[in-house]
Each structure stands twice: as C-alpha cells, then as structure tokens.
C-alpha cells in the first residue's frame, strides 16, 4: 500500500489493473521481439499467425472494456455494441481501400474494385477524405461517437432503460446489418471491404507491420484501461454506480442522469470504434456480419464471464472466451455455440462476479454487489 505513492490517485489500490497493465505493456514489447528478433527455431519464437491472433484478442478485449464501462458501472446493457465496433472497422477499412489505389483488380486509380464492378462512375461523397489517415482516424471515433450521441440522446432522454434499451440496441445493430448488406450503400455489400494492401505505406503482410499493429492494439488497450479506470474511480464513476443501483434516487439528488449516461455511452462507443479499427487491418476484412446481433451478445458473455464492473475482468473474459473459441472451433466446431450459451447460463447462475470473483474471493474493494 505505502509503496504505491508514486502512482496517480486513480490507480491506487487497483491491483488487478496494475497486473493487467504490466502484462499488456510487457506483451506490447515482448511479442513483437519474439516474432522479429528470435529465429524460427528458437523455442520462444512467436510465429506470425500467433501475433495476428493475439492482436485480434486484444482488440476484442478493448471492446469488452468499452461494454463493461457502460454495463458494469452504469447498468446500461447494450446489445448493439458490435455496431460501434463495426463502424470503427469500416472507417479503417475505407482508408485501407483507398490505399490500394490503382493496384486493384480493375486498376481504377480512385474507385475501389467493388464500385467499378457495380459500374459506378465516381466516388460517393462520404468516401471523400478517407484517403487521408488522420481523417480516417478521426472518423474511427467520430462516426461511432455520433451514432451513440444521437441514439443515446433519444433513448436516455425518454428514459428508455433496462430490457427496452437492450432491445432497441439490438434493433439498431440489426438495421445497420441490413443496410450494410445492400450494394447501393457503397460499402461493398455482403463482401464488405477486403484485399487490403498497406497501411501508412507499410505492407500489411509484412511481419514487422503485423508486429507493430499488435503493439498498437496493446497500447490502445492499456490506454483504454487507464481512461476507463480514471472515469470509474472518479466521483463521476460513483454517480454512475448510483444510477445503476438506484436511478431515480440519483435524480432526486439533483444529478442529470441522462447526461451521465450519454457521456459514458459515447465514450464507450468511441472505444469500441477504436477496437474495430485495430481489428480490421489484422484480420484483413470487414463485412456486414460484424453487425450481426449475435456478435453483440457475445461481447456481453465475455464481460459476464470475466466479471462485470471490474474492467480488468472484462479484458480477462474476452481473452479467455476467445481463446476457448479458437480452440473449440478447431476441435469441435458444432459444439461451440452450445458451449457458449451454457457458459453464459453457468456464469449467471453460479459465478455472478465472473472469474474475477473466483480469483479475488469476497474482497470488499471490488465494485460488485455485496
């Protein structure tokens, strides 16, 4: 306790978070080193496929963190967060498409292949600017953030909460799924955006680029954690928990509940967008399937498995479940969905505080229910 005085206040006593930050930042250095510096024959060599896989897990972990911020702390059960992730992914995908330039199959200098195929003559206005990385990066935050702002404004102002909010978030992501499936939306229809070549001039197939993407994802996860922790450890975080536990009491204390909810909802959507943007170059594709309602539900399962309302638990849950998914879809592909469902029911019934609850026991400093 006393040795931690050099830490910023919001990290004091956050043991789980410190372990997480150490591991994630350590991985940001060691995984690329193990991939690039060690010979393939070396026992600690990290193969390139694993770098990509771990990078994908970390992007999911950031997404889980975003969901825990609103669900674990403010009680907002969004079943549509996959939509914000996908929008961030599409913003990045649009940049990567424009980077292809004339190297596409049809060799058109400006239009992506799918637009040439659809016989389009010019770029739709909403594709302008995506050839510039800073603009695309801004959109990664701005598009999910703006959708969350508008959606949240209407939902929270009319006091939609609980199951009803969950249902309309599902409807939102489903509507986007249908929209993005349409060819005339200009996002590549059901094929989505793919065949990316490079990012900021670096070849996406090169080991060094993949290693750098992994590190960037790890850093984003660490940064996301610090931001969420800063928010939740502040008085604003205590107001959020007050809203979660007794919303109308909080109103009678004079807090504008809808402003607080809107704030975290937008922050969370932006983090989800960033996660999507980091995910897309590592998996090489973004398609409308990312909007599917089932994806959004899966995120909730990650958070529930790890331990809702603890932040680092969400990260842990995302890593565990996705590792399990990789393993099972290899070994027993048909069984995975049943297993996932069973896992969720099991955790809800027997481990209300998730794996973190198991690890930490009944310690008081966790924010879960007493």
């Amino acid at each position: 306790m006393t040795t931690r005085h050099h830490l910023p206040g919001f990290l004091t006593g956050d043991r789980g978070g410190l372990v997480l930050l150490t591991l994630v930042l350590g991985a940001a250095l060691l995984v690329p080193a193990g991939n690039l510096l060690l010979a393939e024959s070396h026992p600690l060599h990290v193969p390139t496929y694993l770098v990509g896989l771990l990078g994908k897990y970390l992007a999911f972990a950031l997404l889980a963190l975003a969901v825990d911020l609103i669900w674990g702390f403010a009680g907002i059960l969004s079943l549509g967060h996959g939509a914000f992730f996908a929008l961030g992914g599409y913003a990045m995908g649009m940049y990567l498409m424009r980077q292809i330039g004339a190297r596409g199959v049809y060799g058109h200098p400006v239009l992506p292949d799918f637009m040439v195929f659809l016989d389009w003559q010019q770029l739709p206005w909403y594709w302008y600017g995506f050839d510039l990385f800073p603009v695309a990066l801004l959109m990664v935050f701005l598009v999910p953030g703006a959708l969350a702002l508008v959606f949240g404004w209407f939902a929270f102002r009319s006091r939609v909460s609980g199951v009803y909010l969950s249902i309309i978030t599902q409807a939102m992501t489903y509507a986007l799924l249908l929209a993005f499936f349409r060819n005339d939306m200009g996002f590549g229809g059901n094929n989505g955006l793919t065949d990316f070549k490079d990012l900021l001039g670096f070849d996406l197939q090169a080991d060094a680029t993949r290693a750098a993407l992994f590190s960037a994802t790890a850093l984003a996860l660490a940064g996301g954690y610090l931001l969420c922790r800063f928010i939740t450890a502040s008085k604003l975080g205590r107001v959020l928990r007050a809203i979660r536990d007794a919303e109308s009491r909080t109103r009678f204390l004079g807090y504008r509940v809808e402003h607080y909810k809107l704030f975290v909802f937008v922050v969370s959507a932006m983090l989800a967008g960033l996660a999507g943007a980091l995910y897309v170059p590592q998996v090489g594709i973004i398609n409308p399937g990312e909007f599917s309602p089932a994806n959004s539900i899966e995120i909730i399962i990650w958070v529930a498995v790890g331990g809702r309302g603890t932040l680092f638990g969400a990260v842990l849950g995302a890593l565990l479940v996705n590792y399990g998914k990789t393993w099972f879809t290899g070994a027993l592909p048909e069984a995975w969905l049943y297993l996932l469902g069973g896992l969720f029911i099991g955790v809800t019934l027997f481990l209300p505080r998730g794996v973190v609850g198991l690890l930490v026991g009944r310690r008081r400093d966790l924010e879960g229910s007493p």
Binding site: S234, L236, R241, R256, P370
Partner: protein
C-alpha cells in the same frame, strides 16, 4: 374549499388545487395547503390518501393534471424535472429507504453533498477539508460515524433510514420531504429519529408523512390530515384527534 389561498408571506411551499388521476382514479383531488419557512409539518392520512403522490408532485416525479406548486413564492414546480427541483433546494426521503447499497456510507454522503452536479465537476472532483468536515458532522448527527466505511447495503433497516436522512442534510435543502421515516423502526430508534428531525427543522422546513401516532405526537407540530386526495383537517394534534370527521375516516377505524 380550503383557506389555503390566504397564505402568509413566509410561505415556502404552496400547493394550489392539485389534481392527479391514474387511469381515471383521482389520487389527488384539488389538494391545497401551504407550509411556512422553518416549519415542521406532519402529514397523516389512511393508506391510499395520496400522501406519497403529493410528494411525487412536489419533487417532479409526477406531473399533475391541474394545479400549481409554488416554491419559495416564485417558481412553479409542476413543469420542472426531478434534477431541477432537487437543485432548487428540495430534498426527499422515500417511503422505502433508498440508499446506494454497493457504496460506503461515506460515499453515499459524498454523492449527496451540495455542489455542482455537472459532468466535468464530477470527473475532476476532489473533496476539500471543509466538505470532509461537513460529512463528519452529518455522520455524527445521524449516528453513523462508526459505520462510515461500511457498505450501505450492510446497514440495518433503521440505519439506512438515517443514512438517507443524512444524505438529505448533505444536500442542504431549504425544504425536506420525508416519507414514513420510522416505518419498521424500534421505539428507541423512533424517538431518536423524532429528535433528529426536530433538530433538522431548526434551520429549514420539513414535511413528514407518518402513520405512527406516537411519533407524530413527539414531533409536536402542526398536523395536516389527507383523505381521498384532499385536506380533511389541519391543526394541532389535539384538535385533529378531537375532529369528528377525522375520527370517522381515520382514527376511529
């Protein structure tokens, strides 16, 4: 119907012909009364008389069909929302104790502490020594000093009621509405609560709804009797208890 229209100048709260109906049923039916600055007022009435609904109307939870609620001689509360009304200086204690169960007693009081309720103020909030002292003071008043670091959810029923009263004090409201504060309390706790409310009423107006007659008696204040959404009688407890109509509908059940 009542004489509330001739209200004195030092009125803090004035309800003027308030009616509220739920699906055709009139929970409040032309309810009018006023409370003076610094007054302690007890409200009694049989179950379903409309006491809680009256508080809902004053605090913005329910908007009346007709009528006005004038606060501090200026503002009509009936068009404002809960947060606005709370920030004008009206605090409320619910019938069922509602504290933030997963947070400590201290944090509950800190959340209620009067001050800027905005997002940025909350994000960068730091407790200053004067505020800390104020919390200590209130902990003392509601007898929870030894429990400051416990989770509110682990308190006894009576302690939760006190914590909620403490939270109201932290808000430093001009007017306090307290709904059935001693329901489920032991006799000793009840007496202590009456003491607390009388202390609190020294520096602000307090309206207390209660069924417990012994408690109302120990408050030693003006009493308003509600019945079917309107005022049936008003006066000292002794006059009320002697009132024929009150005996008929309420005391002599």
């Amino acid at each position: 119907m009542t004489t509330a229209a001739h209200r004195p100048d030092d009125t803090i709260l004035y309800l003027d012909a308030i009616s509220v109906s739920f699906d055709g049923f009139k929970a409040l039916d032309g309810l009018s009364f006023y409370v003076r600055r610094g007054e302690l007022r007890a409200i009694i009435g049989p179950n379903g008389a409309g006491k809680t609904t009256m508080m809902d109307v004053v605090t913005g939870k329910t908007h009346p069909d007709i009528g006005q609620v004038i606060f501090a001689d200026r503002v009509d509360l009936t068009r404002l929302d809960e947060a606005r009304i709370a920030n004008l200086g009206i605090g409320r204690k619910f019938q069922k104790p509602t504290v933030f169960e997963t947070q400590t007693v201290f944090d509950n009081l800190e959340l209620a502490l009067a001050g800027d309720r905005g997002l940025w103020a909350a994000l960068f909030f730091r407790l200053d020594p004067a505020q800390r002292q104020r919390i200590d003071q209130v902990l003392e008043t509601v007898r929870l000093t030894d429990h400051r670091h416990r989770l509110a959810g682990h308190l006894s029923h009576g302690q939760k009621q006190w914590l909620e009263i403490g939270m109201l004090l932290m808000q430093n409201p001009q007017l306090l509405l307290v709904d059935e504060p001693v329901a489920g309390m032991t006799d000793e706790e009840t007496q202590r609560t009456a003491q607390m409310l009388k202390e609190i009423a020294r520096s602000r107006s307090v309206v207390v709804v209660e069924h417990d007659m012994a408690f109302v008696k120990s408050l030693d204040c003006r009493v308003t009797v509600l019945h079917e959404g309107a005022v049936l009688a008003e006066g000292s407890l002794a006059t009320i208890q002697a009132n024929e109509r009150v005996i008929e509908v309420y005391l002599g059940r």
